[in-house]
Symmetry: C2
Subunit: 523 residues, 2 copies
């Protein structure tokens, strides 16, 4: 391969080691299968074998992989793709079995279609949470498989924490160098043990918050009967773990067909702060823990995030409270506030849970949610989308342009919370935001053009929301692709396109798209 300047062997060797590590979390669904005894054991044993084989195979490409920034793009992109491919294997085995080895446990599963299996797996590892399951129920799937689906999100979220805090800043992607200033510890110079240390600390936080949520949810379940009032009747241990695994990664998969609507108001209120925490830059928790709360209070993105949550919640709550069409919500303060706060937090953080089928809402309330699909969580969180800090820089740069339009000779930097933002970061952020929006526009045209294949047609609103929701790793769209529905009606070609959107969106667009340029490979 003359002319190729990328050490792709080293990149793929590192992808191989990630794949071998994947064998460890694959043991969890095996434990679930053993405990509940409703099948799925062999599917995961086989997947472990495949991932180890593939992992060691790729590892042999380079015994001592040492990669630079350029190889980093390939490694990051290929990792998510490889993991999603391997993660789809249990879904396929559940539907088809392995001839001569094991019978299909649920041959009726929609994930028997390879495009669906890959969609569900990519949706998991990218923490998107859009589903193509035909039936979300233990009658249609083994408990092990349903737990694996949740676990893929938790693993994806872990990957995103490392990516955002340790890797992307090194790659200067779309202004991600901003993150560096926020990263805990005295600067991250290169891929040194310090990165591993930071990642470990943030993983600890991630694990701790997950455990706390599981404990709270299951605690409510246990406490109910003790108090003589059912606080969380449906929040079994299985459900507590399942939702614990999908909140912190802003994932949104739920083993309940009606998402969080299935649970009590108390449970819904408990989940809100965990979603909000998941959408915060994890580095800020570090400052909080190390006793620097001012740092948090003065963080521009954090202030924007809290402000956005407050304003959007107030707006939506107002729309719901005054909407005569919403029985049980209109005119009732707590439900209006709860559903508004939950859905807004779910959309801003890109979690994608729902406590209600918001398709029944009036146009204004729905439109606020649609607009939030284009905002996204904080940088350095597990949230997807464009991210709040980028929008802040965009707004500041527009304001700067107002100023320089009036004062053409003035030189004025863009500042965020008093800090001067480097011009290359401003440029990167503008390019990122525009690139994201153009990508959305092109993809939505393709989704719509393919829409003739959807039974009963597809409205512009449905197509646009599904496209933005997959690119932004949010999950649910509107209409036929709402929070209580699935992406099943889309033709396979659209599903494959959306697999690409989830992948591209999750990795901050540039690491995947640069792989498509000639200059990446050869110059």
């Amino acid at each position: 391969m003359s002319g190729v300047r990328v050490d792709w062997r080293a990149s793929l060797a590192l992808v191989g080691s990630v794949l071998t590590y994947l064998a460890v979390p694959l043991c969890f669904p095996i434990a679930v299968a053993l405990y509940y005894g409703d099948g799925g054991l062999v599917a995961f044993l086989v997947t472990i074998a495949v991932t180890l084989l593939l992992g060691f195979g790729l590892g042999r490409l380079d015994d001592d992989p040492d990669i630079g920034a350029r190889e980093g793009f390939l490694m990051v992109s290929a990792t998510w793709l490889a993991v999603a491919l391997v993660g789809a294997i249990p879904y396929l085995i559940e539907a088809h079995g392995i001839p001569g080895v094991v019978a299909a446990t649920h041959p009726e599963s929609t994930l028997g279609d390879p495009a669906n299996a890959l969609f569900e797996s990519m949706s998991g590892f990218t923490t998107t949470g859009a589903t193509v399951l035909g039936s979300i129920s233990f009658d249609a799937h083994t408990r092990a498989m349903m737990m694996w689906r949740q676990e893929t999100q938790w693993l994806g979220g872990m990957g995103i924490v490392v990516l955002a805090v340790a890797i992307l800043p090194k790659l200067s992607v779309g202004g991600a160098q901003l993150m560096e200033a926020e990263a805990p510890g005295p600067g991250l110079e290169k891929f040194t043990p310090k990165i591993a240390e930071t990642a470990r600390a943030l993983w600890g936080l991630y694990v701790g918050l997950t455990a706390l949520e599981i404990a709270l949810l299951y605690g409510l379940h246990l406490l109910g009967p003790a108090l003589g009032t059912p606080l969380a009747p449906k929040m079994t241990f299985y459900n507590a773990v399942a939702h614990g695994l999908t909140t912190m990664p802003t994932g949104g998969f739920s083993p309940e067909a009606r998402s969080i609507e299935a649970f009590s108001a108390v449970v819904q209120w408990v989940i809100v702060p965990f979603m909000i925490a998941a959408g915060v830059n994890f580095a800020l928790f570090w400052h909080l823990v190390t006793g620097d709360p001012n740092h948090v209070r003065e963080d521009a993105e954090f202030r924007g995030y809290v402000g956005l949550l407050a304003v959007a919640t107030a707006l939506v709550a107002g729309f719901l409270y005054t909407d005569p069409g919403l029985a049980g919500i209109a005119g009732a303060l707590e439900p209006s506030l709860r559903h508004a706060a939950f859905q807004v937090a779910s959309f801003v953080t890109t979690t994608g849970y729902a406590t209600v089928d918001f398709n029944a809402w009036g146009t204004p309330a729905k439109y606020v949610l649609l607009a939030l699909l284009f905002v996204g969580g904080s940088a350095g969180s597990t949230g997807g989308g464009i991210k709040i800090v980028r929008w802040l820089v965009v707004l500041k740069s527009v304001r700067r342009e107002f100023f320089t339009t009036v004062h053409p000779d003035a030189v004025r930097p863009v500042r965020l919370a008093g800090q001067v933002i480097d011009e290359s970061a401003v440029r990167g952020i503008q390019a990122f935001t525009l690139c994201y929006l153009v990508l959305f526009a092109v993809a939505s045209v393709l989704v719509v053009a393919n829409g003739a294949a959807v039974d009963g047609g597809m409205s512009v609103f449905e197509a646009v929301s599904a496209t933005a929701s997959t690119l932004g790793n949010v999950g649910p769209g509107f209409g036929a692709f709402g929070p209580m529905n699935s992406y099943l009606p889309f033709p396979d070609s659209t599903k494959v396109l959306m697999v690409g959107l989830m992948w591209v969106g999750r990795l901050e667009v540039f690491p995947v798209l640069v792989l498509l340029t000639r200059s990446y490979w050869s110059s």
Copy 2:
């Protein structure tokens, strides 16, 4: 007013002289009123008196106004606002009369509502073409008034030619300095006689093409009987003039309630090339006329424009041809192609005429039109929107970012057709595009939030399209605000917001928005 650094007296004095000039074109509807004798004479005489009074009054603020770039923003913004206000007077008089002077000729006119009158007038002078007329018919309005409505667009288009070619490049608005390279003649140094000369040349072109279109349209009408076959039965002299006045400014007002659907296929085909010509950078005609066709062929924006027209027409024609729901169009080549070419040209150039109620089209075809609302015509044309050259620079700058992401130390300029684009222009264009999109998003939330006041509610698609269409100066939206409908159902508050959007959008956003910043007035 201590601290004000803007010579607002000089700016407003110049607005005054524009107002006095407005008395001349106001004589045209007087001639129409005299010829047809169906009323409206007094309304225009009174308006002439008002505009002269106001014009001379403002002129007295400064006897020898000499303005710089900063005053230019105020002058440009205030001119369009003042002209729209004065232009609304005939509409109000038609509905209300003047007590003791003249009776109302059409008291039932919807333009009796001041918000509606201002909307219609601003829609005219900004060449938007969105209407709030309840009934488009000579039973409901005088012929003079209907001609004034068309003429406002023609005048607005003339203003835009000067603005784009002579004024905006001086103000360095959103990368408008790019235009300078395209402007005819050996460079435009400052507000010199050369500008007046250029403007006169381009006005000549504008007048010439308008006259040619009127002659062709009316010629077809006369030729029909001569050939014994009705070529353009409804294209009376009145109609030929009316449509001639609204094509070159990419205006889109029609005295026919069903827009261009009212006319024969031949007429529809004749109008297409005039719309396309109106969306071309006028400076390119200069190169064509002065015998430099290569310059035109190599112009990046022109190539993008032609490519976009071709691709979008082919796409839409394909959708129409294969849509079983479209009787008379599906499976028929000429109608599919004609309606596709017409609607695409109408949307790309931001004219807003329609040969068919495209609401009946399938989602994919409609969606292409919706996407075109965000593209816009060429810079230096009378088209509105973001403009093709800006999108080209945006795409190139994203590509540059791909390159510098992989090669962080490389310095690479953005090039368009081989020419290096100045970094400040790139920055201005990125900021402009993002500002435009943010403005659209904020405005659409307001329009939707106000939508509860619209009878029968309003869909997201309707609200979004109406917002984008007014901001982009296109005209029609979708659904209830489609090409055969009006913006009448919107509440007054939304109409006033849209008056603002048309105004801001037409003047390339920055000249109006900078007036809202403190640093414009005081620093």
